[in-house]
Symmetry: C2
Subunit: 463 residues, 2 copies
């Protein structure tokens, strides 16, 4: 039934690659003020592309921050299901710059892999659905379902304006299911549907000690060095069992049922493979009592991302810095609530901070955790699509990452969110040399076509 679309996509792989390469050339780094124009350029590029594909509506919609790109085509009629496809067109920063083999915004294909910042996260993955939609329009007159594209520009900075946007446009975004490709398969032969995402709360901690930088010779011994203070505070945030040492932190964590634990641990999630993938001497034992797959997907964690202050250049400087800032995030699982966790974090830090310094704790962003009902028809359509294209039943996963929009769409629009990803574990997401295997990209397009078809044929009305 969708064979013509599948054939069309197969015949136009190079065109689809070229479109993606064009999109990847624009350095849409959302966290950097210097790239604001690139963000706008990317949004405009996407609107033009949506129009070219054949959508009836395509526009840049403003928010308090970076704009949303919205497109829709409702020509399948009210009896057909409506799918909202979410993606994000912003990308992570690229530092450390010197570790990239080829420049991050000059896409390069080597050994069947496309290297560029955003190749998989997320330009490559949402381009899959643009290509699938185009295949339907060109080869079969029209897609079998109504489609809405919802592409944001602030995912990598924690989607600060997304919730307001969704709440203000509930009717526009209304759908029967949401589809997001921003996750990975276990390997090229094992598709995975993510049914849980961790939430997150990203904090900034500022310690102000002396009013100005001091010389360690003159003041070493009487000045409480803010770097020592922050090291001691951060060290105290884990206990000897790898648990997060914040009172109340685990109180609302939904315990893992025996059945889900058994299912999770049946996954081919080898510790040795993980060790090689991370290239570490040894895995961290982490929170005691939990396996690696449980720790990365179904248990909360706390990570330090950076400590600013003092002297870190070439050579040496004997400074006691006046002020240091640490960036710390916590990954959360149902039913932890980000604002409450932020409060517990701040309370713990106030207990730990000595009276020799001033402490400030700021929330930079947060996202709710979510769990999706795996019996939803749209999930079953995704299972079917993966089976058809990859020849394997997908596994159900709980992902470690946070996709703020998942909880929002699930809770606000009250629809199942299908997280159907085509990345691979070694894609270097958020790291130098990010890549997307072109086989995954091309098969993803086939799977997207199959998903739309399966959803349309699954039942006559709502899914």
């Amino acid at each position: 039934m969708s064979q013509a679309a599948l054939d069309y996509a197969q015949a136009h792989q190079t065109d689809n690659l070229n479109h993606l390469v064009e999109l990847l050339r624009i350095p849409s780094i959302s966290t950097s003020a210097a790239h604001r124009a690139d963000i706008v350029r990317t949004a405009n590029w996407l609107v033009a592309r949506l129009q070219q594909i054949g959508l009836s509506r395509a526009e840049v919609m403003s928010t308090a921050g970076h704009p949303v790109v919205y497109g829709e085509w409702l020509g399948a009629g009210p009896a057909a299901p409506t799918v909202l496809i979410y993606g994000h067109y912003d990308v992570q920063p690229t530092d450390p710059q010197e570790e990239w083999t080829t420049p991050p915004f000059e896409p390069s294909v080597r050994a069947g892999k496309l290297y560029a910042r955003g190749a998989v996260d997320n330009k490559g993955q949402h381009s899959i659905h643009l290509a699938a939609t185009e295949a339907f329009f060109r080869a079969e007159a029209a897609p079998p379902v109504n489609l809405k594209f919802f592409l944001e520009g602030e995912e990598e900075i924690g989607s600060p304006n997304l919730e307001a946007f969704v709440r203000q446009h509930i009717d526009m975004l209304g759908c029967d299911a949401a589809l997001i490709s921003d996750t990975s398969m276990l390997d090229a032969a094992t598709p995975a549907i993510v049914v849980g995402v961790r939430g997150m709360v990203y904090m900034e901690v500022e310690i102000q000690g002396p009013g100005h930088d001091l010389h360690s010779g003159q003041y070493g011994g009487v000045a409480h060095n803010p770097l020592q203070v922050i090291a001691e505070i951060l060290a105290a945030l884990h206990d000897g069992q790898g648990r997060v040492a914040i009172p109340g932190f685990y109180d609302k964590v939904r315990p893992l049922g025996e059945e889900e634990r058994a299912e999770l641990n049946r996954l081919p999630f080898g510790a040795e493979a993980l060790r090689q993938e991370m290239d570490v001497p040894q895995l961290w034992s982490g929170e005691s009592g939990y396996t690696p797959i449980e720790r990365t997907g179904a248990r909360p964690t706390l990570e330090i991302h950076g400590i600013r202050g003092g002297f870190v250049g070439e050579g040496q400087k004997t400074v006691i810095p006046a002020r240091v800032v640490a960036k710390v995030s916590m990954r959360l699982v149902p039913d932890q609530e980000p604002p409450e966790i932020a409060r517990l974090f701040e309370r713990r830090l106030r207990e730990l901070a000595p009276p020799t310094v001033k402490l400030q704790v700021r929330i930079l962003s947060y996202a709710n955790p979510a769990l999706i009902d795996r019996e939803a028809p749209a999930i079953r359509a995704a299972v079917h699509a993966y089976q058809q294209v990859f020849g394997a039943v997908p596994v159900f996963l709980r992902a470690g990452g946070s996709i703020p929009v998942v909880a929002m769409l699930n809770h606000i629009l009250r629809v199942p969110v299908v997280m159907m990803g085509f990345g691979l574990p070694d894609d270097n997401v958020h790291a130098p040399n990010e890549k997307f295997d072109l086989d995954q990209f091309y098969r993803g397009i086939q799977a997207s076509i199959c998903f739309m078809q399966a959803l349309a044929s699954m039942q006559p009305g709502r899914v």
Copy 2:
């Protein structure tokens, strides 16, 4: 006897200020490769100035690093004492740049204070002796003592080539006493002679975790975050009593005698004044059992200067960094030996580092601690000079800072080293808005004249 020189210096304050301003305009930051040409420019400027003053020899002498400026005048004859005046013409970096009221290399006089990087540390302080020497040449035909100027360009990077230079030029540098102005008075009315300096060993610690940066969502819980590892290691380097928690660290510390403790603690070294000077909510209690003045001068300390790695920019990035580098220095007191302390430090770090990471420990530089005999004639000449100009008997101090050359000259040339400084505690040494009070500068010139005169008249031959 030296009244003519004193009068001359008094009448030429503006000239001396102008010379200093010219010297301060050259950004001779020794730690930065970008400023190598400025280092050379500064050395050449000083040679020209020494020639202009009237020294019989003045030249730039190369080392494996930044050059030494050497000048001498031996016209007082073999019966007169010879004074070796040491200074350093390199300066600290200037970050954080934005906290300077006026640019660090555009000297600015405000309310009788000269603001610039290097104003007091050390261009302003060694310029005092250039001006005093010039006053003798212009007003009295010649100085009453033989003079050798020894100005290095690597003090702020730990003087890596100084010891080799001194050992290779023992004859050239031979003298009866060394004079160094690189310290502070207690306040404008209380001169101080430093009779002890702390040594230092500056270490760099590198923790390599994963082979590349990781995404905290995907790997948080199984990757041992190098920032967490370094925070835990650094936190473990002090115990609950503020002591440095490195086994063997205190073994060779010469205990403070009751008499010296009593003398040190009679100094007007108020905790509240210190608190205000540092602008902190509260002094750090530091090593238990010792007073603030003991902790900053007569006891060893350990300070963290910076932690590089991860993301510290504007906004947020959820990275687990592959590698972090911490800069740590330890201030040492007699009879701690820097290489041994470096070994103990590394041994402790190897005990603390978990098997999930690779650890590298590097020594960036070190300096020996020193104690000077306070009965030496040159020390008595300095006491006399301070009394004449400032009207007060100087106090004897143990300084917290490290001046590598002090131990070298003391041990290699076997001469007393007179540390006669004219800085003030609020000079913002190594910090933004470094300044030198012009009163201190002008009085310093008078005191230098008096010192040379006192030394010459103290005894006919050797001092």
